[in-house]
Symmetry: C2
Subunit: 123 residues, 2 copies
Amino acid sequence: MAGIKHSRQRDAIINELCSRTDHPTAETLYWSLKEDFPNLSLGTVYRNLGLLCDDGSIIKISVDGADRYDGNAKPHCHFLCRNCKGMFDVHNVSPFSETLLSSVNGEIENYSLTLYGVCKNCV
Amino acid sequence: MAGIKHSRQRDAIINELCSRTDHPTAETLYWSLKEDFPNLSLGTVYRNLGLLCDDGSIIKISVDGADRYDGNAKPHCHFLCRNCKGMFDVHNVSPFSETLLSSVNGEIENYSLTLYGVCKNCV
DNA sequence: TATAATAATAGTAACGATTATCGTTATTGA
DNA sequence: TCAATAACGATAATCGTTACTATTATTATA
C-alpha cells in the first residue's frame, strides 16, 4: 500500500468516533483520547478527521460553531436540540419526496438534513 | 419604538440580500455594497445580518467555509453545486415524510436541508 | 430648526476554529 | 536492522466572526 501508514492515533480516533453516537466535535474527541494518548495533538485529530472525511468513511456536519463528526457515513438525518445541544440520529428514513426530487435542477449525490427543536429529554 | 433606529447601511444590506438569490456570504454582500458605501465596515455587515437573523427576517445557512445568508426566511431547501459552488433554492417542497416525522424524538421547530451534487449548468 | 440622547457606524483588535509548517518519531518494507 | 517516509506533536498562521471604542447619524422633543 503506497503512501498510507497505520498509526495508533488514527485507529484510536476512528474507533472512538464510531463507538459513540453524540456527533462530537474535533475538540471533544481530542479530550476523550487524551486519557490514552496524553500528548495527542489537536492538529492530529483534525488532520485524521479530514482524511477520513476525504475517503468517505466518516461525515462532517457543518453547524453553528464547531463542526461535528459522525462515524456513520451512511446518509441519514440529524436532530439538534436547541436546549442541550445534543445531536441525535434519525435513522432509516429518506427525507425525499418525489416532488422534491423532481424540482431539483441537478443530480443529488448527497444531502445534509438537520432538524432543529427541543428533544424529548428537555421536555 | 424604543431601542431601534434606522440606518442607511442596514436598509441597504437587507435590500441587497433580498434582491438576490445566490445566498451570498457576509463578505460577498460587503463587496457588493462597497460601491454605494465606500467606507462600509465588514463588522457592520455581520452585525446587521446577525440582528436580522435574530428577529427571523433572514436565515443563516451553515456550510463548509463561510456561512451563507438567505433573504427568504420561509423554510425551504437548498441545492449546493460542488463544481461552481452555486447555491440554488428548491421551493414549494416539504422534505418531511410521515415516517420521518414519527421517528424524531422531539418537536421540530425548523430544519435545514442542503442537497449536494452538480447543477444542470455544470452538466 | 436646534438640541440632547443614544443607536449605529467605521476601524481595528481579539477570538475561536481550523489548517499549515517543521523538526522529530513511528511505521513499514526490504 | 536499516532506510525511506508517513504521521506525529508543538506551534505558528490563517480564516471567519465577534467585541471594543471613539465618532457619527438618527430620532424625539423643545
